[in-house]
Symmetry: C2
Subunit: 94 residues, 2 copies
């Protein structure tokens, strides 16, 4: 498997904002307009972060009226987050 594809996925996780988004979506579907106040960022910025996550295949969306609801695209994503958290923890411990 190509390292570039793997790095693509990792790159999507390489931003505190996007990690935060994934963690919020672990709790369930959210629309962009709910994320905006939680993240304290301009709607355009949130939209772009979601686009990055979507291009990496980590989130999916569906429209509901004027809103677009976002969700994790795979049950493996929480696993990946736990993995990263563990390693970040080990590092902290040092």
């Amino acid at each position: 498997m190509d390292e570039r594809h793997i790095a693509e996925v990792a790159k999507a996780l390489a931003s505190p904002v996007r990690v935060r988004i994934l963690r919020i979506l672990e709790e369930g579907e959210r629309c962009g307009c709910e994320l905006v106040p939680l993240l304290g960022l301009d709607p355009s910025v949130v939209s772009r972060h979601l686009a990055v996550l979507s291009r990496a295949g980590l989130v999916e969306s569906r429209r509901e009226g004027v809103r677009i609801l976002w969700r994790l695209s795979s049950p493996e994503i929480p696993l990946l987050l736990r993995c990263l958290e563990n390693l970040a923890c080990e590092k902290e411990a040092v």
Copy 2:
């Protein structure tokens, strides 16, 4: 746990070169001068990538004479790589 720390670790994985390095180190300890021809990059570049991985807590080193041997710093790292590979795969499949 702070999203910044998690993103730090992910950022270290967000480069094809560094993913490649981790995969090579999965097979066992290697010194920088072994990695250079495998990666086809300038020694200075390899050194900097190793420094990034080290700062993220993903690799550790020990000196042996004039060489510095690098190894994965945790058995969880292969797990993390498999996780990322799976997600990269799922995305490819789409």
